[in-house]
Subunit: 301 residues, 2 copies
């Protein structure tokens, strides 16, 4: 997976910081997660191929997470897009988008599908042969979901030199990849583990923003490779975090620790602080493998 | 007047070009004209005091002229604005804005007034003691207005040394400024032109974007000091200009010439051209005093 953070600052776009948007690449698929104002320019600056984005996931309907969506939808039209675009987000996202397209008399020349979310339970919202996406119900001032991206386990890999040494015909290869043992003409049974290698390990990425500290998400994100968790405030603003239903860096780290994730990326920083280094410092007192998200940063895992 | 061009390129925001937005300062009032995506960041980059903008004028509901409005409205809230904000724009601008505020559960903590426009005739839409703003009905693919900003003629200026030499009491000063002659105690009548200087000349600025070539606007913009007129295309794309109801540089210059304006600023360039210099070159074949608008450029007049 390759994660590009386009923006990870709270509240308003500023000269040098952008509101929330990320692109996650999994096996040549590009998923856009949130779409604050200016996202399309951030996509250009980070040289990401617009046209490959077919699915957009919107966590919640606060402006810093979706005000860039209608511009992106329009720009896709102007660029002559013909591929379907799917937008997954809270109920209301369709009405907002269609009203703007209607009033500007600018319906898209591609198919635009809205998948509106209302459930308070985790649910599968996208699945193909390689990837599965589930919601992570969060607790914020409005209806909010995080998103869990999971690579599907691939079939086992043929150990071709061994398979050929046994003289096994090609028509059995798929069975072997699916884990079956093979009975040779001689009657000898060759166990699958001799004929195959383990598949590549699958990765999981969990995006959790915006949310107050919420242990209810722990079973959903248990053991994921990478967790992005909002950390809007430092411990000195803990009361403000509670009031606004955001998290502190230490709370994000506590979630990461309790969920046994491998790596934590912080983001959604309030711009009141002079440096974001303090977020990492505070989080490290609880959970060691924590890194700072920042606009334009890429992570491969 | 001081005009700051925040963005003047057509269609989509790009890495180095911004969609339409301008700030016009007249006698310490700031008027925002159009508000494409990214306008609030452009305001910051150009160091314009957000809080002094009390009136926003939206020409039409194409995304490159208003997708930044809801973000600006929201940011005003986050910055703790308490002053009234007035938005003047086509019918529909209120519904779009309020729907987004409702769904994000983020109503403003200041009074937000929408003045929706539907008239096909020029009308006065703002007036105070110093400034008057009128619509300029334009012809585009959706309902569109340009805006004419006029300084009001100030009262005449006292020629204080002469007034005092005649021994005229202060209670008559306002009458003199208003143009009245004065009868002295001796019965002598002193004509007003001896007691006063002419007021400073007033300036007029006309903003016309987006529009096809339309001579119907000539009487409204006759003789203005500065005309900003869209020039989306060069002459080589004249057919495309007609089809999309935009203007070419030569058409903008022809309007400027026929309206006897003093200066023409071009803008709303299609990003298909490598350099915008050609717009000026083509326009100059028709009208000499033409300059190129560009993002971040300021004009004082």
């Amino acid at each position: 997976m390759k994660l590009t953070i386009l923006g990870c600052y709270a509240a308003t776009p500023r000269t040098f910081t952008n509101p929330t948007a990320q692109v996650l690449e999994i096996k040549n698929r590009l998923f856009l997660i949130d779409c604050g104002e200016g996202t399309q320019v951030q996509l250009r600056k980070n040289k990401i191929k617009f046209s490959k984005i077919n699915h957009v996931f919107i966590s919640h309907l606060h402006g810093d997470h979706f005000f860039g969506l209608i511009g992106l939808i329009s720009t896709f039209s102007l660029l002559g897009r013909t591929t379907d675009l799917h937008v997954h987000g809270p109920k209301g996202i369709k009405e907002i988008s269609l009203l703007q397209l209607k009033l500007s008399n600018s319906y898209t020349n591609y198919n635009l599908y809205f998948h509106e979310l209302e459930s308070l339970e985790s649910e599968i919202i996208f699945e193909d042969d390689k990837v599965i996406v589930k919601t992570i119900p969060l607790q914020h001032r409005v209806y909010t979901n995080g998103f869990l991206f999971e690579e599907k386990i691939e079939s086992r890999k043929l150990n071709l030199s061994i398979v050929e040494r046994y003289g096994i015909e090609k028509c059995y290869y798929q069975n072997i990849k699916n884990g079956k043992d093979i009975t040779l003409d001689s009657g000898e049974v060759v166990s699958n583990d001799k004929l195959t290698f383990d598949p590549d390990p699958t990765m999981q990425y969990a995006f959790c923003s915006d949310t107050r500290y919420n242990e209810a998400i722990l079973p959903i994100i248990e053991g994921v490779d990478v967790l992005y968790h909002e950390a809007t405030f430092l411990e000195s603003e803990k009361a403000l975090a509670q009031k606004t239903m955001h998290s502190t860096a230490i709370e994000a780290a506590t979630i990461a620790k309790k969920a046994n994730v491998k790596k934590l990326i912080l983001g959604h920083y309030s711009t009141r602080y002079e440096s974001i280094d303090l977020f990492q410092k505070e989080a490290k007192t609880v959970f060691d493998n924590v890194v700072l998200g920042d606009d334009g940063k890429q992570f491969e895992f």
